[in-house]
């Protein structure tokens, strides 16, 4: 049983810096949980507190049913893999994986069994006699993982283990680590600042900022139902478009209005997008009528195909194309719509080029609204 529970955990450094505040999280046995957030948000500190490498200032950490606040790291039944791993250059792969066990005076036969088992899981069996300099980047990374596996822990803690790899290798290792999680059937806690890693690997994601948990949810829910502006902007690549707008109500219908129309010269245009009724399920929109809000729309929910423009006539606006990026399977259009930047993910067959003025449509059902002051979600 390797469930984890962090209850009201704080980390305050003697200098006064508070790295983590009121952290509450229940992690189920065999779960693959990701801590994600920008640099300095407290995710690594949280991981190190779970490991016992940082004392907690307040709160409680449970591994299974046991409070481990005062338990030494080596007695917590955990294993860690860090970003800046170093292999012993003069030792073979076998010895690299066995070294920690040797220092802990593990019997030789047991060491051999564990190393061979780890090598089998990581597909390193044929490389056991090689030295690190004869390995590729991915193989070295697998040796680093092997050093953790041989400890046979209940919980794996991984702190940005792929950050030092190039993009291609990183993508490959993402899959390998996910497979490893399935093979080992243990709890994984994985820290990253890369939202792609978070979205592709985790069963649940914890989004952090300034030492505080912003949202804990499945990757899909985080993407579809972000709880605030930060989560909406952090999760998703390219990131969600944010447009400063105003919420209006005419009869029983809500509209978001944005644009730059000058009341005297009538220069510029103001756009009004009709919101579907589903956006006001709990009547939350009423209190924002007449107020400024932030409208969020994902790039894939902005379209320029004629068929979709016809399908969503309520969201039609005109925009100037500034930059186009052909990514192969899709094209990104970076546009300016009444002084607001809008990015669209469209078909690669699209013919718009920089300087063009094109008609696009914003899918009203996919609009998110955020409170401009608190940055909390009004509706998703």
């Amino acid at each position: 049983m390797a469930s984890l529970s962090l209850r009201n955990v704080y980390k305050r450094y003697p200098g006064g810096v508070t790295a983590v505040s009121d952290f509450n999280l229940e992690i189920k046995d065999k779960e693959f949980i990701i801590l994600v957030g920008p640099s300095g948000c407290g995710k690594s500190t949280t991981l190190r507190m779970v490991a016992g490498l940082e004392e907690i200032s307040d709160g409680e950490i449970y591994i299974g049913d046991r409070v481990v606040n005062d338990v030494a790291p080596k007695d917590r039944d955990i294993a860690m893999v860090f970003q800046n791993y170093a292999l012993y250059p003069h030792m073979t792969v076998f010895d690299n994986m066995a070294f920690g066990l040797k220092l802990r005076k593990t019997p030789k036969e047991e060491i051999r069994r564990r190393v061979e088992e780890a090598a089998r899981i990581l597909d390193l069996s044929h490389l056991l006699e090689r030295k690190p300099k004869a390995l590729s980047g991915g193989q070295r990374q697998r040796v680093a993982l092997g050093r953790a596996i041989v400890r046979e822990p209940k919980v794996f803690l991984l702190d940005e283990p792929l950050s030092n790899l190039d993009a291609k290798l990183r993508a490959q290792m993402r899959t390998e680590i996910s497979k490893l999680h399935l093979k080992l059937g243990t709890t994984f806690i994985y820290v990253t600042h890369d939202q792609t890693e978070a979205m592709t690997m985790g069963t649940r994601i914890v989004v952090m900022k300034d030492g505080l948990i912003q949202q804990v949810d499945t990757p899909q829910n985080l993407y579809l139902y972000p709880c605030n502006l930060f989560v909406a902007g952090f999760i998703g690549s390219p990131q969600m478009n944010f447009v400063e707008a105003k919420l209006l109500k005419e009869d029983k219908t809500f509209f978001v209005e944005f644009g730059t129309e000058d009341t005297k010269t009538r220069a510029g245009v103001k756009y009004k997008i009709k919101l579907p009724e589903s956006k006001n399920k709990n009547g939350t929109l009423d209190e924002y009528v007449g107020k400024e809000v932030i409208m969020g729309i994902r790039p894939e929910d902005v379209h320029n195909e004629e068929k979709l423009i016809a399908e969503f006539p309520d969201g039609v606006v005109t925009a100037n194309v500034e930059v186009t990026e052909l990514m192969g399977a899709e094209t990104y259009l970076y546009m300016n719509c009444e002084q607001q930047s809008i990015n669209a993910r469209v078909s690669p067959t699209n013919t718009a080029k920089p300087g063009d003025t094109i008609t696009i449509t914003i899918e009203p059902e996919k609009i998110h609204l955020f409170d401009k002051d608190t940055e909390k979600t009004i509706c998703n």
Partner: protein, 360 residues
């Protein structure tokens, strides 16, 4: 070095002792023996038992550790388990210990580096000894100090030595029970970020593999052996300054200490004078923990009242009230840049005086 040295002594002793004698290393490999054919073979006694006993007998051999350190690198062995074997063993161990000690003193490169960084060698002798030991004086080297922050049952020295096994370029030296110095040869043009990354890999390996938390101080890169002591002192200073100002960091580089380095180099009396000048008598002591936390957040948020109040989850007016209170107590209005900078430095000086770090 030890193999040839020990073998030469064993050869000389062979005729005086009428039985097989030799030396094994910490893995049980015979590195010197009166029967030449046995060199390279492995004896497999439990070395931890030898370490625990002054003299240890197992099957047909009697063993004793060489040197005062019981868990030494080498062990002498004598064939037989009778009282004479024990006597021979003791005599040989004393003899080998002394020879090894003098040899280390004179020819061990690591020992030489240790003497250089600890200033145990006359400046004039450094150049001569460096030449005798074939040191390249033109390469860059950096001193790092790896300090364990809590007791550990893992020998950190062994781990670091295994991470940097090239004994001709890198030197791992045990300074005391908590500190290990790593003198690392670095390529010309290597920047501080690379050294910090290297230090991070040491810290991460020790944390990840051995659950051992360390802080690492880094000195500046220097050229020439005689400059190594400066780099070492800087690494020591970095750790001391880090203990006061960068408690959350595990890698502290002397090159990145910023204003903390200036404060560290100021005489204590000057610091006290400055504090008296800035704060009225006792005024800094009357600031409670919550107020100091508020001040810190205010600085972190670039003296922005709205942003700070949002981060502190307090109303803007509450923050303004707190800032007014600070102004009343100290005479400094933190919303003004000049006052804020005076306060910031004064707080650092205060912290420094309270911590009373060791000066290097």
């Amino acid at each position: 070095m030890a193999n040839r040295l020990f073998q030469s002594i064993v050869q000389q002793m062979k005729d005086a002792v009428d039985r097989t004698i030799g030396v094994i290393d910490s893995n049980g490999n015979i590195i010197a023996c009166s029967e030449l054919s046995k060199i390279g073979e492995t004896l497999t006694p439990d070395l931890s038992l030898i370490a625990k006993n002054d003299i240890f007998t197992l099957e047909d051999y009697t063993y004793k550790a060489i040197g005062s350190n019981q868990s030494g690198e080498y062990y002498v062995f004598v064939a037989g388990n009778d009282p004479f074997a024990e006597k021979y063993c003791t005599i040989l161990a004393i003899s080998f210990s002394n020879i090894k000690f003098y040899y280390d003193e004179k020819y061990d490169r690591s020992n030489f580096i240790k003497n250089v960084i600890l200033n145990n060698i006359l400046p004039g002798d450094i150049y001569i000894r460096a030449r005798e030991l074939h040191f390249n004086n033109d390469v860059q080297r950096t001193a790092l100090i790896i300090r364990t922050t809590e007791p550990t049952d893992v020998v950190v020295y062994d781990v670091v030595q295994n991470l940097f096994p090239d004994k001709t370029k890198d030197f791992v030296i045990s300074i005391n029970e908590n500190d290990i110095a790593l003198i690392k040869e670095t390529k010309a043009g290597i920047n501080n970020n690379d050294i910090e990354k290297l230090a991070m890999s040491i810290a991460d390996t020790l944390s990840g593999e051995f659950y051992t938390r360390v802080v690492i101080g880094i000195g500046t890169s220097v050229e020439g052996i005689s400059e190594l002591s400066r780099s070492f002192k800087e690494a020591q200073a970095a750790l001391e300054v880090g203990k006061v100002f960068d408690t959350e960091k595990s890698i502290i580089s002397y090159d990145n200490l910023g204003i903390a380095r200036l404060i560290y180099q100021l005489p204590t009396t000057l610091c006290q004078t400055y504090l008296r000048e800035v704060f009225k008598r006792g005024s800094i002591q009357s600031l409670d923990q919550e107020t100091l936390f508020t001040i810190q957040k205010f600085f972190e948020n670039n003296l922005n009242v709205s942003e700070t109040s949002r981060k502190l989850f307090v109303h803007r007016n509450t923050l303004v009230y707190r800032l007014e209170k600070i102004k009343r107590i100290t005479g400094l209005d933190l919303r003004e840049f000049d006052h804020a900078i005076v306060f910031k430095i004064a707080l650092m000086v205060h912290k420094y005086l309270q911590a009373d770090p060791v000066k290097y």
